[in-house]
Structure formats: structure tokens, C-alpha cells
């Protein structure tokens, strides 16, 4: 079965999810539709002197030793296990397709630097010459395997037996959507019948938090933590860092049907368009966002009138939510007031590299269940953003096609069109 452009239709036959609300789609769905927040006070490290003291950390997954790549890999494993189990595809340790992995850039972290410093034999001042000397002893050989950029992808490719070279990618906060896009394109090219598209982020640590804090990107409303993420509300004051992972098994419709797989949704289209205006800010005319959403709708062979729901990027920063509303208004016209536009980030925070896939999985559940999880913490409407954010309480709705938006630093914009059934 082919789409309007004659390309193989790409369907989702399995998906998995971990967020600060819990592991697994069932538990997450229950909590998301109940309007629960996974945001809490950070206990993983001291937040003394920090402006932001809350995050959507995943604390219920034990990882020892703890580092961003270790936790990211573990979260991805949990999401992949769920997705593969649901899809009933391949055999244990042998997935019949490539891996596309969205993961945060990896680097050595402070605990390792401190270990090296202690083992360097430096007397007074410690510098990189001392760390290099410690590295040269060969005693820290595992640090290479753990902290190269391909580290998490290598571990997942090994464990799940994906085919060929695993692709690790970063398009900042759009990474998860890019991973799905790469899988979609590979299946459309006929290179493979199946792809494992995964996005993971377990990088809530002091330096990561401080980096975003120094860019004034984070909410500083620490009390109560559950109320910190306030997408589209007038009193929104930044995003809340969070962890999680999403995994999707994509297959060509024909291959899925041939093996009798159940189809849970369709990746109908994807669009992207980079913004050359500024490293962290959107072009004030909104053109890149508008073009990105238009590209996605066109790629799906649809028109804006066919879009029934939008799973917003909706970070809760003053800038993003304003620009996203501007862009969606341009695309949807008058319908912008009628089409529900909600943000999962109000409950699970911003899962950064994972967000695009985490929210795609939730969007697919939204279509399947015909029920929209709310945008919580919406107490003070912003007159400048006159849209239906599905405030505070979940709602049933009839939906065929949805858009999931992901935008990131560096001018990254990616939109996915997800559908309940093949057109």
C-alpha cells in the first residue's frame, strides 16, 4: 500500500515510553489523563545556590554508576523492550532493521573528572596535564567506551541486534522527531522494512542544569514543583528539565500486514526547516516554524483543514509558546481557536533530546484513545495566545490526524504528522 506520492506507507507497530511519571505506556497514560505532574524537587544532587531546584528526573530506575549516558542507555532499553514486545518483531537480540537514536551529546562528567584528579598525583593545582597523565595509566579504560559520542548507540545496537551502523543524532530539542524522520525516510526509500527509532535523555546533572539556567531558559518557580511547568499560561517562566525515553517500531504497511502485526498508527509525514535568525531565538516573523509545519502537512499529502489536534512543543518559555502560537495561527487560520493544542511538557517537563519521540508516542496514544491529555498549570490565560490548550482536564475528542511539533536551539524545527489509520 502506497501513499498519495507513491511511497510506502509507514506505520507504528510498537512503542514504548518512560517518563518521570513512570515506566510503560499504560501507567503514563493513566497519569497523563489524570493531569498528574512528574516534576519534583531534585534530590539526585545538591541544588544549593541554584536558581532552579526542580526537574522531571527519573529516579525509579536504578543505575550504578550514574552518568548521563548510563541512565540514557537504561531508559532507552526500557522503552525499546516495551516497543519490541508490543510489535512482536524479530527475535531476541536481533531486530530486523537499523537503529536511529536521538541522544544528548556525551562528555565526561564531574565525578569522573574528580576521580582522575585524585588519581593524578597532582600536589596543588590540578590541570588537564594531570588528568591526561592519569588517563595514560590505562586504569580508566572504560571511560573511553562510556564517554565517546557513539557510546549509547553502540550499547543499544549490541543489545537489540539492530542492523548496520547505528545512527546517533542530535538536533537539540527536536532530536526525537529527527530520529523518527530518519526511520520514515529509510522505509520510504525501500532500504528497510522496519526501523527502530529511539530517543532518550537522562542528563539532569549539575552542569547540564546550570548551562540551561545561564541561558535563562528554566523555570525558577520551585514551589510547588508540580506547578513549575506552565506552557501557554501568562505566568509561564521557562521550561523544566526532564528525563525519559520513547521508542517506536516503524514498519512499511505492507511488511506489517504481511506478518500479521497490529498497526497502532501511521507516521504520515514529516517536515523540517532550519532557522537562520539566531542561535537560541526564533525568527520574529515565524517563517521557519510556519514553513516547517506546512512542509509536514504537505509531506503527508494533507491540508491544514485535515489536522484535528496539535501536540505542541509547548515548552513553557515565554518565547517558544508565543512563537509556536504565531506559527500555528498562520498555518491554521481561523481554525487555530478550535483545534486543540496541548503540551505534555506541563506534566512531564521537557525531556530534551527525548521529547520528540516521547511526545510522538503520547500523540499516538491520544489518537488511539480519542482522548487528549491536558495542559496542566493553566491558571492564568495569556490573552496573546488565544488558543484551546485543553486546560487542566483531559478531554475526549474525535481525531484522525495530529501534528507533533519539536523545536530546538540552533534553529532546529521538525514537525511530524501522525494519523490514526492509513489515508
Amino acid at each position: 500500500m502506497r501513499d498519495k506520492m507513491g511511497r510506502p506507507i509507514v506505520v507504528v507497530t510498537g512503542s514504548g515510553l518512560v517518563t518521570s511519571l513512570g515506566a510503560g505506556k499504560a501507567d503514563n497514560w493513566k497519569r497523563l489523563t489524570a493531569g498528574e505532574s512528574g516534576i519534583r524537587a531534585i534530590t539526585r544532587f545538591s541544588t544549593e545556590t541554584l536558581k532552579t531546584k526542580v526537574a522531571g528526573t527519573v529516579d525509579f530506575v536504578p543505575v550504578e554508576p550514574l552518568s548521563a549516558p548510563d541512565l540514557s542507555e537504561r531508559l532507552a532499553e526500557i522503552a525499546i523492550e516495551e516497543a519490541i514486545t508490543q510489535a512482536r518483531i524479530g527475535t531476541r537480540g536481533n531486530f530486523p532493521g537499523p537503529l536511529f537514536l536521538a541522544v544528548a551529546p556525551i562528555e565526561l562528567e564531574w565525578p569522573q573528572r574528580e576521580t582522575l584528579a585524585k588519581n593524578s598525583g597532582a600536589n596543588e593545582a590540578v590541570g588537564y596535564d594531570d588528568l591526561l597523565r592519569a588517563a595514560a595509566t590505562g586504569r580508566f579504560q572504560p571511560f573511553h567506551r562510556r564517554f565517546v559520542f557513539g557510546s549509547v548507540g553502540e550499547g543499544l545496537a549490541e543489545k537489540f541486534g539492530t542492523q548496520g551502523s547505528p545512527i546517533s543524532l542530535s538536533t537539540a530539542c527536536a532530536s526525537g522527531a529527527s530520529a523518527i524522520q530518519l526511520g520514515l525516510e529509510a522505509i520510504r526509500r525501500g532500504e528497510t522494512d522496519a526501523a527502530l527509532c529511539v530517543a532518550t535523555d537522562g542528563s539532569v546533572n549539575p552542569e547540564s542544569l546550570i548551562r540551561f539556567s545561564l541561558l535563562s531558559a528554566l523555570s525558577v518557580q520551585n514551589e510547588p514543583p508540580q506547578a513549575a511547568a506552565k506552557p501557554f499560561a501568562k505566568n509561564r517562566d521557562g521550561f523544566v528539565m526532564a528525563e525519559g525515553a520513547g521508542a517506536l517500531v516503524l514498519e512499511s504497511y505492507d511488511a506489517a500486514v504481511a506478518r500479521g502485526a497490529r498497526i497502532y498508527g501511521v507516521v504520515a509525514g514529516c517536515g523540517e526547516l532550519a532557522d537562520s535568525f539566531h542561535r537560541t531565538r526564533s525568527s520574529p516573523d515565524g517563517k521557519p516554524i510556519i514553513g516547517c509545519v506546512h512542509n509536514a502537512i504537505a509531506d503527508a499529502g494533507l491540508t491544514p483543514a485535515d489536522i484535528d489536534y496539535i501536540n505542541a512543543h509547548g515548552t513553557g518559555t515565554p518565547e517558544n509558546d508565543k512563537m509556536e502560537c504565531l506559527g500555528l495561527t498562520a498555518v491554521l487560520g481561523e481554525r487555530v481557536k478550535d483545534v486543540p493544542i496541548s503540551s505534555n511538557k506541563s506534566m512531564i517537563g521537557h525531556t530534551l533530546s527525548a521529547a520528540g519521540a516521547v511526545e510522538a508516542v503520547i500523540t499516538l496514544m491520544t489518537l488511539e484513545e480519542q482522548r487528549i491529555p491536558p495542559t496542566i498549570n493553566y491558571q492564568v490565560p495569556d490573552p496573546a495566545i488565544p488558543i484551546d490548550v485543553v486546560p487542566n482536564v483531559a478531554r475526549d475528542a474525535r481525531m484522525r490526524n495530529a501534528i507533533s511539533n519539536s523545536f530546538g536551539f540552533g534553529g532546529q524545527n521538525v514537525s511530524l504528522v501522525l494519523a490514526r489509520e492509513p489515508a
Binding site: 544549593e48 591526561l132 573511553h144 526509500r189 541561558l215 537560541t280
Partner: protein, 401 residues
């Protein structure tokens, strides 16, 4: 593994621009003259005992006109944005907003260039701090430059190329050492051949003059120390010499290039990649499989290999034996330009395209590398990662496929 690429008529992929900077200088002529003359430039003193290939002295102004933009970047990003600009110039699309606005981009990137002074001061102070956690938080909050984060982020090389050169059709960044560089080119090629893209900018950059980067690879004992030797002759004294370099290619469907009157340097006929487990013999088996996939006939006349061998044992020894068994004329560029990790594959494809466009292979000062006594019509480019990932590309003179 990717299936072999079978391009429809008009969808074959041409290399219409290359942008290269390394220790040998900038641009095609500087690289050609240095390689043909057997020149190399390396620094064994600054990071002793480690040997690095430093970037040739250069001003970035010619491709990054705003000083403000330069200040927003760390060196790895500047090198990359500069090389990308050279590639766009070479392809004749620089400043062409119509084309740049729909040009796709895949960047292979590392990142994470750190402020070594801040790190050192923190590590020095931590053991003496009465409250270590508080000390770390305070120092990071006060001493990290807010914009350093953006200069570190992997995808901000692509972001800066969008800002400085206006490439905005799409922007994707692949991470994962040498494999990222191979797969960036592979995916860009596959998209063009399948009609998903008409024109793409693909490549990467590295600043190899970084202690924290030397440290990452030294954990695994992969870095060349002490005496220099050509990559094939490092034997048990193995390792790669980290290099600063930037390399970008403009890839384009033949139809798109013809329509705008662009001349190709060469055709990119295929790229294949895989991931072996690196048990003994695994690199050899991977290269055999990739070779069969790309399909260059052994004994093809006018063919050479541009090898990305790192100098790391045992991968380089396996590659050497593999190429020897195929009786191929080989040039290992790592001896001259060092190892740039992510951009190495794009660099070697650029050098292959350059040699093919000139019709002959550059000479070699390495006694083990034979001359090619005939016109160069095609080249296989190898990219065997220092630790994981194997890739091959087939570059041909246009019209010989």
C-alpha cells in the same frame, strides 16, 4: 547495512563542491601541492608526548565576516563553518538564497569544547571546599560563560552554518566518531538518489588541539605518542595523531547540477557502512562485505584507494592486509593530515574527488605506497573507525559509472 544504491537516470549524485582545511592549509590547491610533495605538518611539542596535526594558520574572516559570529563559536565550529563556506563557494551556490533555502545539511560532529581553566580551577578547589557540592554549583554558575554551552553543543555547528551561510532546507547532526562521518555522507547520498533531496551540504569539523579530547582517546590508549611514523608503519607503537580539520562536500543530483550549469568534480557512486564487533578478523570481514556491496571490480584500471586508516592497531593492520590482498594502489592520508575523526571520511572523499578531477593520483613519500602509472578514474575511500564502525565510499569520474 544499507542496500546498494541504484540511482535512477538523473538521480546519480555528483560532488560539485569541496571545502577542506587542515594542517596542510585551505582549499584544493594547497592540499594537492602538499600531498603531491609528500609534505606534512605536525606538532610533537605542544602536547608532548602526544603528536597532533594543528590547523594551518588562517584567518576566518573570509568565510565568517562578522566578528560577533566568530566570538559565538569555539574553534571546532569556526573550522567547520569556514570549510562549509569554502564548499559552497566551490559549488557556486554561496549566497544563492533560493538554493540555500532548500539545501539539506547533515553535519557529523563531536563537540563539548571545554573551558580548561575553569575546569582546572574547580578541580583544584574541590578537595579544599568545606561543601564540595555547593562549591561546584557556585563555580559553574559564576565561571561558565553562558554562551559557552552553545559553542559546545554538537548541533550548533550546523546551527552556525545556517546563521552564517543561510543553509536552511534541513539541518541534522550525527554524532558517534568516525561512523557519524560515514553515515552522514551515506544518508545524504541515499536521499539524493531516492529523490528525497536535490542538493546537500555534508561534512564535519574537529579541533584536535584539545587536551580534553586527547584525554578521551587516551583513556583507551588510542593516541599516538613519542615517535612519529606513517600510519601503516606504526606497528605495536600504534595510535592516531589527532588533527584539526574541516571538510564539507556539496552533493547534488546530476539533474539539479546540470540545470544550474554546475560542473562536477566527480560522481559519488556509493557509500556503505556497518558496525562489526572488532573481534580478530572482524574488520577484514566487514570490509569484504562492504566491498562486495559497492561492487568495484578488483583489478579495475585507473583505480586507487584513499584510506582513512587511523594508525590504531589492530584495525589498521587488518585494513592494510585487506587492501594488499586486493593489490590496490593506496594513499593513507592520515600520515599527512592526521586523524580528524568525524570529518575524516568527508575529507578523504573530497581528496578522492580532487584527484579524479585532476585525472591522476598524488604522489606518496611513503615507500610502501606505489605510484599509479595511469589516469585515475575511480577511488575507493575507506573509513575504519578507531574503535567501532566501518565504511567505504566509491568515487568515480563522471561518465564512467
Amino acid at each position: 547495512m544499507a542496500e546498494p544504491n541504484v540511482a535512477e537516470p538523473g538521480r546519480e549524485c555528483w560532488i560539485t563542491g569541496i571545502g577542506i582545511v587542515s594542517c596542510l592549509g585551505e582549499g584544493p590547491d594547497a592540499h594537492w601541492q602538499a600531498l603531491d610533495g609528500g609534505k606534512a605538518h605536525r606538532d610533537a611539542a605542544t602536547y608532548a608526548p602526544y603528536i597532533v596535526h594543528p590547523l594551518a594558520p588562517m584567518s576566518f574572516d573570509a568565510q565568517i565576516s562578522k566578528k560577533g559570529d566568530q566570538r559565538q563559536m569555539e574553534p571546532w565550529q569556526r573550522i567547520g563553518v569556514y570549510a562549509a563556506g569554502l564548499a559552497l563557494d566551490g559549488a557556486g551556490v554561496k549566497g544563492d538564497a533560493g538554493i540555500l533555502g532548500r539545501m539539506d545539511m547533515i553535519v557529523a560532529a563531536g563537540g563539548g569544547e571545554r573551558d580548561l581553566a575553569v575546569d582546572g580551577a574547580i578541580l583544584t578547589g574541590l578537595p579544599k571546599a568545606p561543601n564540595a557540592d555547593r562549591f561546584l554549583n557556585e563555580r559553574l554558575m559564576n565561571d561558565l560563560r553562558p554562551t559557552l554551552f552553545l559553542a559546545q553543543l554538537s548541533n550548533l555547528l550546523a546551527g552556525n552554518i545556517s546563521i552564517v551561510h543561510g543553509v536552511t532546507g534541513s539541518s541534522r547532526t550525527f554524532m558517534g566518531e568516525e561512523s557519524a562521518g560515514v553515515d552522514a555522507v551515506r544518508i545524504a547520498l541515499a536521499r539524493i538518489e531516492a529523490g528525497q533531496s536535490d542538493i546537500a551540504l555534508v561534512g564535519g569539523a574537529q579541533n584536535g588541539e584539545r587536551k580534553e579530547m586527547l584525554m578521551l582517546y587516551e583513556f583507551g590508549g588510542f593516541v599516538l605518542k613519542g615517535e612519529f611514523a606513517p600510519v601503516w608503519e606504526r606497528g605495536t607503537h600504534a595510535g592516531f595523531a589527532l588533527a584539526s580539520m574541516g571538510a564539507f562536500l556539496v552533493l547534488e543530483s546530476a539533474a539539479h547540477a546540470r540545470a544550474r550549469g554546475a560542473k562536477p568534480l566527480a560522481r559519488l557512486a556509493g557509500v556503505a557502512s556497518t558496525r562489526s564487533d572488532r573481534k580478530p578478523g572482524a574488520v577484514t570481514a566487514a570490509l569484504e562485505a562492504l566491498w562486495r556491496k559497492l561492487g568495484p571490480a578488483t583489478g579495475t584500471s585507473g583505480m586507487a584507494v584513499i584510506s582513512g586508516a587511523t594508525g590504531v592497531a589492530p584495525a589498521t593492520a587488518e585494513e592494510h592486509a585487506f587492501l594488499g590482498a586486493h593489490q590496490l594502489v593506496v594513499r593513507a592520508t592520515g600520515t599527512h593530515i592526521g586523524h580528524g575523526v568525524e570529518p575524516q571520511f568527508a575529507m578523504n572523499i573530497a581528496l578522492a574527488a580532487l584527484a579524479i578531477s585532476r585525472g591522476h593520483l598524488f604522489a606518496s613519500a611513503d615507500a610502501g605506497e606505489r605510484p599509479l602509472d595511469e589516469a585515475l578514474r575511480s577511488a575507493v575511500v575507506t573509513g575504519v573507525g578507531h574503535w567501532r564502525g566501518e565504511g567505504l565510499a566509491l568515487v568515480q569520474a563522471v561518465g564512467t559509472g
